[in-house]
Homo-oligomer: 100 residues x 2
């Protein structure tokens, strides 16, 4: 599984958004996804770790998860060359906002 497939899953994107605010224990993340069971969340966290989107640090019997920049940057590097396709569109929008 690569970083693109990892990010394609909505629950994993939710986990990423939570970890972007601050670190969380696995249990907190399980509580934040009430539709999923604990093993399901644990598996998602495993995948996020394997693709380098997340890192784990043990804290007693808990595991603290934190976002890692590297993985998301790989997606950003991929999308960067295509950014020119809507840059001019955005420029036009800003122009419009400034003129009104």
């Amino acid at each position: 599984m690569d970083v693109f497939e990892a990010v394609a899953e909505p629950n994993r994107r939710h986990l990423i958004s939570l970890l972007a605010e601050r670190e969380h224990t696995a249990g907190e993340l399980v509580g934040s996804l009430p539709t999923l069971t604990q093993p399901a969340v644990s598996r998602h966290l495993r995948i996020l770790r394997e693709v380098g989107l997340v890192e784990v640090r043990p804290d007693g019997q808990r595991r603290i998860y934190a976002l890692k920049p590297d993985g998301l940057q790989r997606i950003d590097d991929w999308i960067t060359p295509y950014r020119r396709f809507w840059r001019h569109h955005l420029a036009a929008l800003e122009q419009h906002l400034e003129n009104r």
Copy 2:
């Protein structure tokens, strides 16, 4: 299928990169993916069209495919808030843009 899943497939990313250079007919794209059959490529193009990454224009018996900005921009919009994790100077820029 949403735009994230669409982009998660390597062959579809390849198609996107080809269409970023210029428009292509379906046949040209089939020729650019020698490991896949014509129906397989046709199906990938269908998916890219359904998620708004690509648009089709008929030209006689051929179909000309072109990249559409909207879909990729949605991915870019999603990744933007996380960009501060690896480029702190960009966070300052975003702050500046928000405040003006």
